[in-house]
Symmetry: C2
């Protein structure tokens, strides 16, 4: 686990302030930490076969979903920390994972669990470095969506949290099928 997560491991069931972060950002980081711990539990000790398991022709593998979780976080880092979309290099690195589907089924396979976990941790480490430098006013800052609705940074990062949970739900479903073959 990343340092900040293990610092707060004993407070995994508190949504609360965390030293080093402003009060609201601490609550957000509590959510990020807790959800990540549940994602890692959901994939604990899976082997390559299970990580690559395709339930049916339209399914994504558990490995792809893990990389998809990391890729979405990279996308929101660019949007919220730098106010931009992914650059060309980032697109090359992440687009299969972002898009899922055929290309992900072709390209994302053969990796051990450790590869996915290290990727998730590396991306999360960058998120925490950036969040430490920001404050609650930044969390309230909003931009306008294409439909004209206000979207604040707290929402964007809550969406990252929810996105991970959404796919963790699918990972649990797939795991129970992948491991009983």
């Amino acid at each position: 686990m990343h340092n900040v997560a293990s610092d707060t491991q004993q407070n995994l069931f508190l949504i609360a302030e965390i030293p080093g972060f402003t009060p609201q950002i601490g609550r957000l980081v509590s959510m990020l930490n807790y959800v990540r711990s549940t994602t890692l539990s959901a994939v604990e000790s899976l082997g390559v076969d299970e990580l690559d398991y395709l339930h049916d022709p339209q399914s994504n593998s558990i490995g792809s979903l893990l990389l998809h979780i990391a890729a979405a976080e990279v996308g929101y880092q660019a949007v919220t920390f730098q106010g931009r979309g992914l650059d060309e290099e980032e697109k090359r690195r992440w687009s299969a994972a972002l898009e899922l589907g055929d290309r992900a089924r072709r390209e994302i396979k053969g990796h051990e669990l450790d590869y996915y976990v290290r990727t998730l941790e590396h991306v999360r480490g960058n998120t925490l470095v950036e969040l430490r430098q920001r404050n609650d006013e930044w969390l309230d800052d909003s931009t306008s969506s294409s439909s004209g609705q206000r979207v604040n940074n707290y929402f964007k990062w809550f969406h990252v949290v929810g996105h991970e949970i959404n796919h963790r739900g699918q990972i649990r479903w797939l795991r129970s099928r992948a491991t009983k073959r």
Copy 2:
């Protein structure tokens, strides 16, 4: 949609204060509202056949998962608002939905979407009535888990939010299979 949700419909992409709730509870209610809107989108216009669709013998139907989302919220209402578990009448009403599996497959079927939506809204209405009467100190109140870890009310309600997202992820997966038959 419940009143509070529609009041704040124009702020669906803000995690922020909401009039009538204390500051932190407003942020929590923002999350509850947004996630509920995505759950309702995920099941929009599904018919009874799709709500009852069983992907395989261990699958839960979309209808069961919707009732499971409501049942978990009822459970957390009892725990956090009244400091108790479900009473006998609540168990009769909700245990099939809470437990899912065989009994839910047998008992939860044949309902129109409106039945599930009304149930979700009724339960949510009770949650919002209770949350309006509480404050940020209450949200920070914690109890001890069986393993001795502190668990605060914010965590418990964040868990309700996450539980809904988790199953919404499964609903989306099932919907794409149930509607292409």
